[in-house]
């Protein structure tokens, strides 16, 4: 461990630490532009110069390029080094336009800070400045190339870290230009990070332009709830409006970056059509009256028809408090257990994934970057959990190998091996993999149930991917830190269990395998634990239709968009005696509800959230709530009303409304106790110590779910279903932009959402006598869909993929279609 002295302070660091990082640990921030912890050193900007006084290096050197070594004595304040840095700054500023007053970076600009810190305040250069044309880069980022100081962070991030190739660096010397070849929308779903890492205003956040300076904003740490990963963000708010989100460093989850869905998906909070008043039968009313009236109606229904006549439907991406309140109230009152999932299979999958994720299997998102072999099963990272793709890329950049077994031919920003396996064939493929994993294993060495499982896998028929599966198995066996990634969006519950079995088997063989599930949405983990896997919206609706459920409480769930059979939904809801809706969005259900109660979002009240790894995080409130001043004032001065409250401040936390609806004290403490019980972590939430910044894992595995238990008959039957009956499997899939219900309300992301298509492999299209661009009618319930055909090279045969973009936002995941239900529309 090298020992060195920086500015008279001794420090010991791990070998390989750069001097600039060692100094940072002492609290000495050496100026930097090109150096970034996620991108490493290149020594391009020359502004981190320090003086090496003793040791293996002498004189003024770049602190980002030199490893900290034993015996070094370094001064950052040495007159020669300070003078060097001052000249570098002056030189970097030669062509800079000095447009800070009109620059959107002004106020949080590293170049501004460094210029002042470097002591450069009077311009000596009298020559003309080089100028550049700016490019249109799409709705998310504004380009202003004249401000560039050639630090190369953007091109290194864009091509190196993120792996996209449509933005880079062109020309040389004084002409260096960072941008695209031509104007155009950036193809990188992680492009927003450019605004964070650019040390000056070359790339600035477009949606928040002209909304204020950094110091005008209320900045609050928060959590992204646009997928299950739980990346950390910083929310900027002004005038009761969320205006911007930036990535917030979390060493265990997202590192320094976030995806564009998370960054720009917040528009729903500010939406003018957000319901901010309580309503009775669609007419505004006082919230206390509504609560009182709804409460007595609910009590009357329960008295008349019994507690089982009430059912509750809850949110997947709601806070843990809301989920706990629903679970607690349903249990206490004897209602049906709350339904969080619309699709019964999805509920089963989430329950399976959360039950099987043992502590020794867990790996954080950041931990994936250290994997040497990654096997992804039924997962499409960029579309389902975007930041997972970047983590996997870092593993591959470090020499790791990634193999993907999926139906969709996922587009991934890194080199990977891909096996096109249809959804229904995944189980058998993983079973074959187990067979190859245990080729040289004496099953007698394994526990009995594992041995029986391996024996069953050995009996599976040969498959056409055997050669590749065997190679993957060999890689897994030779791996130091293998990770099995398993998606939950399109796979069967059995596949989720099988992935856990593979990892457990690796452990039995002495290999420290890790398991990484992605779930359907933020807090899907909490929903799986707090709800019953048997409860789902589909069964609730059946009970309503049968007349056994008379009252329905809907909390933060948009039934209309998730349940495509609107006619059936309408009829079922009409049969109800009582419909209470608690939500923060303008959903069509709000006006149809007998009682509507407006709820707050994560931005207004924060809350506790569990990511897919069972990692608990807490978010504080970021804005006070109320309608944005932009809306109340219509762009001018807000109306001068002398009230105590602020306009539109009626919404409350869903859990608070729920408790009041049931006549309970709206206290948070009992809910936290309930959560501690559920997750067997006494004192974790109510104790003195707060949730640590990187979150803490509480979602321990549930006893009672037997490993190595698999119904191979069913798997083989599924496997043969496609080939034997000549059927096609239509799978509804997630897409980075346009399928996640909150972010798809963002106008900037809407502009990036491709129109709905149905994708299939060339051979599938040929069988169906279709060609790219043809319009096809899919005869599915509740109504047939007409979509253009897109040929996706590499997709599994007999599989059609349909993104769940509006208006096809159905919850059902699979449709088995005979060929006559897929018809080409003849051109008129």
């Amino acid at each position: 461990m090298p020992n060195l002295i920086i500015d008279d302070l001794p420090i010991e660091v791990e070998p390989g630490t750069k001097v600039i990082e060692a100094a940072e640990r002492l609290g000495i921030i050496i100026p930097r532009f090109c150096f970034h912890p996620a991108l490493g050193s290149v020594g391009a900007c020359r502004v981190c110069a320090v003086k090496f006084l003793q040791g293996p290096f002498e004189g003024v050197q770049m602190s980002c390029m030199i490893d900290a070594l034993d015996g070094m004595v370094i001064s950052t304040t040495d007159a020669q080094a300070v003078d060097f840095r001052r000249h570098v700054i002056e030189w970097l500023m030669l062509n800079h336009p000095h447009d800070c007053p009109v620059c959107d970076e002004g106020g949080h600009c590293l170049l501004q800070d460094m210029t002042v810190a470097g002591g450069h305040c009077i311009r000596r250069y009298k020559g003309s400045k080089r100028t550049h044309h700016d490019q249109y880069l799409g709705p998310l980022l504004q380009h202003e190339m004249n401000r560039c100081i050639q630090c190369y962070r953007c091109s290194r991030y864009y091509q190196g870290f993120a792996g996209y190739k449509d933005l880079g660096v062109m020309r040389s010397a004084a002409q260096v230009y960072f941008g695209r070849q031509d104007d155009g929308v950036l193809q990188n779903p992680f492009s927003g990070n450019l605004a964070d890492i650019c040390p000056t205003g070359v790339y600035t956040d477009k949606p928040s332009r002209f909304k204020g300076r950094r110091w005008d904003f209320e900045r609050t740490p928060s959590i992204c709830i646009n997928c299950s990963l739980g990346c950390n963000v910083t929310v900027s708010a002004r005038h009761r409006e969320v205006v911007r989100q930036e990535a917030r460093f979390n060493d265990k989850i997202n590192g320094h970056f976030i995806c564009d869905r998370g960054r720009y998906g917040f528009a729903y909070v500010n939406a003018a059509d957000r319901p901010r008043r309580a309503m009775v039968g669609g007419r505004p009313a006082d919230i206390d009256d509504v609560l009182l009236e709804a409460r007595s109606r609910l009590a009357r229904t329960m008295a008349e028809f019994g507690p089982q006549s009430v059912a509750a439907v809850g949110p997947l991406r709601g806070s843990l408090e809301t989920q706990a309140a629903l679970a607690q109230l349903s249990e206490a009152a004897g209602w049906h257990s709350p339904a969080f999932y619309v699709d019964p299979k999805a509920a089963e999958i989430a329950a399976m994934a959360t039950a099987r994720l043992e502590d020794k299997f867990t790996v954080s998102l950041r931990g994936i970057e250290g994997a040497d072999v990654i096997l992804a099963v039924g997962s499409d990272p960029v579309n389902e959990a975007p930041m997972l793709a970047l983590a996997m890329r870092q593993a591959v950049r470090r020499g790791g190998h990634a193999a993907v077994i999926d139906s969709r031919s996922p587009t991934l920003p890194f080199e990977h091996e891909y096996l096109p396996v249809a959804v229904f064939e995944l189980d058998v493929a993983v079973g074959r993999l187990v067979n190859f994993l245990c080729e040289d294993v004496d099953t007698q060495q394994l526990p009995a149930h594992a041995a029986a499982f391996v024996d069953e896998c050995r009996k599976l028929p040969d498959g056409r991917f055997d050669v590749y599966l065997q190679a993957i198995a060999r890689r897994l066996l030779a791996a130091r830190q293998p990770v099995v990634v398993c998606g939950s969006d399109i796979v069967e519950p059995a596949t989720v269990a099988l992935c856990a079995d593979v990892v457990l088997l690796l452990h039995h063989m002495g290999i420290d395998g890790k398991l990484f599930y992605t779930l359907k949405s933020a807090n899907a983990f909490g929903a799986a634990r707090l709800g019953s896997p048997a409860a789902n919206v589909a069964s609730v609706l059946r009970s309503v239709e049968r007349g056994t459920v008379k009252a329905l409480v809907v909390v933060e769930k948009d039934l209309h968009s998730e349940f495509p059979d609107h006619e059936r939904l309408k009829q079922a809801l009409a049969q109800l005696d009582l419909l209470v809706v608690i939500h923060y969005l303008d959903i069509s259900l709000a006006s149809r509800a007998d009682y509507f109660l407006p709820a707050t979002t994560i931005y207004e009240t924060g809350g506790l959230y569990l990511n897919q790894e069972g990692r608990l995080q807490t978010a504080p409130a970021a804005v006070a709530g109320g309608r944005p001043i932009q809306q109340t004032g219509g762009g001018a001065h807000p109306p001068r009303q002398y009230n105590r409250g602020i306009p539109g401040d009626t919404p409350q936390e869903a859990w608070r409304l729920l408790l009041q609806l049931c006549g309970e004290q709206p206290a948070r403490e009992p809910l936290l106790h309930r959560l501690e019980d559920t997750f067997a972590t006494p004192g974790a939430l109510t104790g003195a110590s707060p949730v640590p910044p990187e979150g803490m894992r509480v979602g321990h595995a549930v006893n009672g779910v037997a490993p190595f238990h698999h119904d191979w008959q069913a798997a083989l039957a599924r496997h043969e279903q496609l080939s034997r009956d000549g059927q096609m499997l239509l799978v509804t899939v997630a897409q980075t932009f346009g399928t996640e219900p909150l972010s798809c309300r963002s106008p900037w992301l809407e502009a990036l959402t491709p129109p709905a298509t149905v994708r299939m492999a060339l051979e599938t299209a040929t069988q169906l006598q279709l060609a790219a661009g043809d319009q096809v009618v899919l005869d599915i319930k509740p109504q047939p869909l007409t979509l253009p055909v897109v040929i996706e090279i590499g997709m599994a045969a007999n599989v059609l993929a349909l993104p769940r973009v509006a208006p096809h936002r159905m919850a059902r995941r699979h449709f088995l279609l005979t060929r006559n239900r897929i018809k080409k529309v003849d051109a008129p």
Binding site: K165, L167, G168, M170, Y177, R180, Q181
Partner: protein
């Protein structure tokens, strides 16, 4: 579209190396020879041949002095502006060339014969000031010598035309 006679040999050459991008410069030069300069179409063709994105090709193309992303004249005069030539009279050589051709650096004569561009060092420091015309080096430049060179080139072009 690139004719098969140009494309085929390039594809063969690319197939013989481990990573196609190793040959990026060779391919760009070939295409430049074919098109006269590296047009946008040529960049797209090169990207297709090399399995790179057009931007990646452009990153390289715009870095190198001898790859021309805009049309150039029959003779491209690269006048050396490196430190040795600069000490030995680069500025007057440049000024003379501009006057003689009646163009600025970066421009092409209206007859399409000459393009004047800078270059930073062509390894002719011992015979500075120097310039390069279509890969041929000329040193110890002065007004008279430049006149002779240009007259010869004009004659050469006229003869080639006939």
């Amino acid at each position: 579209m690139l004719p098969v006679s140009v494309r085929k040999p390039l594809q063969k050459k690319i197939a013989s190396v481990e990573h196609a991008r190793e040959l990026a410069i060779d391919v760009m030069f070939e295409l430049q020879n074919h098109y006269g300069y590296l047009s946008d179409e040529a960049v797209a063709e090169a990207a297709g041949l090399l399995d790179m994105t057009p931007l990646e090709v452009d990153e390289l193309a715009t870095f190198y002095t001898f790859i021309y992303r805009e049309p150039v004249g029959v003779y491209v005069i690269h006048v050396c502006d490196s430190v040795i030539c600069w000490m030995d009279g680069y500025e007057s050589v440049k000024a003379y060339l501009c006057r003689r051709l009646n163009i600025d650096v970066g421009q092409t004569t209206p007859d399409g014969l000459f393009t004047l561009l800078p270059v930073c060092c062509i390894g002719y420091c011992d015979r500075a000031p120097a310039m390069l015309v279509n890969r041929k080096v000329y040193g110890h430049l002065d007004g008279a010598k430049i006149d002779r060179i240009i007259e010869n080139l004009v004659n050469e072009a006229v003869q080639a035309d006939q």
